[in-house]
């Protein structure tokens, strides 16, 4: 598809720790089309927040040895700090996870909102700007009007009062609305929402999510939605990327993922979720691998009920298992979803087919490695 708003290609993020280099993000690829809501789903410690912070450029201590992050076609990793700063807040903005701690407690809501309008897209300090601001009262009144209007749009009933309030005077739901208002104030093209509902009660969460959905729909904003909750992802997103231990193990359109979950991790996760109709599964035994010494092969092998010895050694590159469905598991055969894995495809690891696919038709059964000719979906 032409001209996506965000393309992440082969992104690696490393951290230096006392125990050596932690390879936290290990070659992930995903794309967000314009106007689309994509979800990044995974459990604690899988690297979701590191991924979005790399996109926003908020990880000063990390190294990115490899990879590209293209925003509107431009590789943001090659930009200078000042250039990135000028895009942050204006072009792309972020709703932080915890409404209790992400507002400054000593500034009023109004001051924090005006800051966005005053500083968006501008370098950190500019004397001329300061002078101009001090002289012009007109723009201040305009900012105030815009901010209050925005508070109204997030359905805060007394925007004028909230504008003058300090964060402690507001409930969790109200603070989350304020954060949404701040994030949307600069009319960003890409909005990153990092678990915006998690700290809220269910009825409040449902309301905030509905509201957010409406607002981004109106503005045609593209959204990257981070969550640990597949149920929430199902409600808000068009596409889902399931992350495990710094890799994207499965990606598919939302409906497709729920209709035909493929990766054993996705399936384990789905089975673990308590449902109204089918009960609760057994969960997934074990825990995340050590990032400073990850297995060479599949990072999930240790916890996978279908793992074979080969899984520990051979990297399970993501493969096309359907026209718009990629899964990183040796149980499935298919063309590599990324060109850089072509060479790996030659040495196919045969551990059979997924046991839940009796006929094996979706995975193409235990066919020879050669079905590379299939409707090559390497466009992702």
């Amino acid at each position: 598809m032409a001209d996506p708003i965000l393309e992440v290609k082969n992104l690696h993020v490393h951290f230096e720790t006392h125990d050596g280099t932690a390879e936290v993000i290990n070659g992930i690829d995903f794309t967000i089309e314009r106007g689309e809501t994509a979800a990044l789903v995974g459990e604690t410690g899988c690297g979701k927040s590191v991924t979005v912070k790399s996109i926003m450029g908020l990880l000063p201590s990390a190294t990115i040895p490899e990879g590209e992050i293209r925003y509107k076609g431009e590789d943001v990793l090659s930009l200078s700090d000042a250039e990135r700063h000028s895009r942050r807040g204006k072009e792309m903005s972020m709703i932080m996870q915890d409404p209790m701690t992400s507002l400054n407690p000593v500034l009023t809501v109004g001051e924090q909102m005006m800051d966005v309008l005053k500083w968006q897209g501008r370098p950190r300090l500019s004397l001329s700007k300061l002078v101009r601001d001090a002289l012009s009262t007109g723009s201040k009144a305009e900012y105030r009007r815009r901010a209050i209007e925005m508070l109204g749009e997030v359905e805060i009933s007394a925007p004028e009062r909230v504008f003058e309030s300090y964060p402690v005077e507001l409930s969790g739901g109200m603070r989350q609305r304020v954060l949404i208002a701040i994030a949307l104030l600069s009319e960003p093209d890409l909005l990153i929402a990092d678990e915006p509902g998690t700290a809220l009660d269910v009825t409040t969460e449902a309301k905030v999510l509905d509201l957010l959905d409406e607002l981004v729909e109106e503005r045609d904003t593209s959204v990257l939605y981070i969550t640990h909750d597949l149920g929430v992802a199902r409600e808000v997103s068009d596409r889902i990327n399931v992350m495990y231990a710094g890799e994207i193990v499965e990606q598919a359109p939302t409906a497709d993922l729920f209709a035909n979950p493929q990766h054993p991790y996705t399936r384990g996760l789905l089975e673990s979720i308590p449902t109204l109709s089918t009960g609760i599964g057994d969960g997934i035994e074990g825990h995340l691998p050590d990032y400073t010494d990850p297995p060479a092969g599949c990072r999930f092998a240790d916890r996978c009920p279908h793992a074979e010895p080969a899984c520990y050694d051979a990297y399970p590159y993501p493969r096309q298992t359907g026209p718009d469905h990629a899964t990183a598991c040796h149980l499935f055969s298919g063309t590599p979803a990324r060109e850089r894995h072509e060479s790996l495809a030659a040495e196919r690891v045969d551990i059979g087919t997924a046991p839940w696919l009796a006929g094996g038709d979706v995975a193409g059964g235990g066919d020879a490695p050669g079905d590379v000719s299939a409707d090559g979906g390497t466009d992702q």
Partner: protein
């Protein structure tokens, strides 16, 4: 002993099934009011009625789920029942013993029968004690055998919660969240209690870990016939673990019933709204819950509860009576009661809820 849990609520003496004639746990009109102080002299300026007259009972070996949003008083209810905070008034009978009347010495001895698993496993385990000494603590307090017997018991408990025995010598900091919670469970069941309060035991954990913990809790319950009070804000989880549930709103139970009735046909407007807000992972579940009901506003300040029905400030159905008096619990099924005037024949709109 009372044959019904609701004798304090005049209208609704719902028909209990056989087991509930002789419940393991009975709570009657339990209240916990926190005083508010004001000014330099700390004059009493009012009170927060965190738990305001809660009654229910739990049959032996059953799980009673208490659900509600933050500030609804569900945790305070659980803690008051164990006298971890002193209840203001009310009766809590556990295995025939009124816990509220116990003297300090008696209470300490009685604690072997009632235990709690806390919400956050990271802050409820002493980081400077090894797993062994954490699990051993209740055994020591209640003079359980000599050190050899205790060691044996700790090993047994670790097996029960599916942790390797060598974890005994680790510190909580060396364990993952799920492993820590298993230690918390092992500690709670160490003395074979009759009743355990599970206060959001899995809400700090990932779902894949949660499922494991739930399975362990169920296995333990099955084997030892422990009675659970399961406190959570997660309705889908409750559907899977509870036999009966109570829905709390601002210190009051607004609906109580067996889990299938409450989920199958929620009666109170608040229960319906809560159920409708669940996020689901399948079409089937989507159909199993009510259509989305959006509540107006937010939970009111508990210091200034609305008069009459506390839920009326957010409710879509409002009668004149709602502001004047609080509705009683109306019987809505063999084991289902709901606190709402919609069920009263005097009000016409009630018809639509049939």
């Amino acid at each position: 002993m009372n044959d019904s849990a609701y004798t304090t609520d005049s209208t609704a003496a719902a028909q209990r099934d056989r087991d509930l004639d002789d419940p393991m746990v009975t709570v009657e009109n339990l209240k916990k009011h926190f005083p508010l102080f004001e000014g330099i002299l700390q004059k009493k300026a009012g009170e927060v009625r965190a738990v305001d007259g809660v009654s229910f009972s739990i049959a032996e070996g059953e799980t009673f789920g208490l659900v509600g949003e933050s500030g609804s008083g569900k945790t305070t209810t659980g803690r008051s029942m164990l006298r971890l905070t002193e209840p203001t008034s009310g009766r809590v009978e556990i295995d025939g013993q009124n816990v509220v009347d116990l003297s300090d010495g008696e209470l300490k001895r009685f604690r072997r029968n009632m235990q709690i698993v806390h919400q956050d496993p990271s802050s409820s385990l002493n980081p400077r004690h090894r797993v062994k000494s954490i699990i051993e603590a209740p055994l020591k307090i209640h003079d359980y055998g000599d050190s050899e017997a205790r060691l044996e018991r700790v090993e047994e408990l670790l097996d029960m919660v599916d942790l390797p025995r060598e974890f005994m010598y680790r510190y909580p900091g060396q364990l993952s969240g799920g492993q820590k919670q298993r230690v918390g469970i092992a500690r709670a069941v160490a003395l074979n209690p009759k009743f355990v309060v599970l206060d959001e035991p899995t809400s700090a954990l990932d779902v894949s870990v949660q499922a494991r913990i739930i399975n362990i809790l169920e296995e333990i319950q099955e084997e030892f016939g422990i009675t659970y009070l399961f406190i959570t804000h997660d309705l889908s989880l409750l559907k899977n673990v509870a036999d009966r549930i109570g829905v709390m709103y601002l210190g009051r139970l607004v609906e109580v019933g067996d889990v299938d009735s409450v989920f199958g046909s929620p009666q109170h407007p608040y229960s319906r709204a809560l159920l409708s807000a669940i996020s689901t992972i399948s079409e089937e579940d989507e159909l199993a819950k009510p259509d989305r009901i959006t509540l107006d506003g937010e939970v009111p300040d508990p210091r200034e509860k609305p008069s009459g029905c506390a839920f009326r400030s957010r409710c879509a159905h409002e009668f004149d009576a709602c502001a004047v008096e609080e509705p009683d619990l109306y019987e809505r099924g063999p084991d289902q009661v709901s606190r709402c005037f919609l069920h009263d024949d005097r009000f016409e709109e009630g018809a639509e809820w049939e």
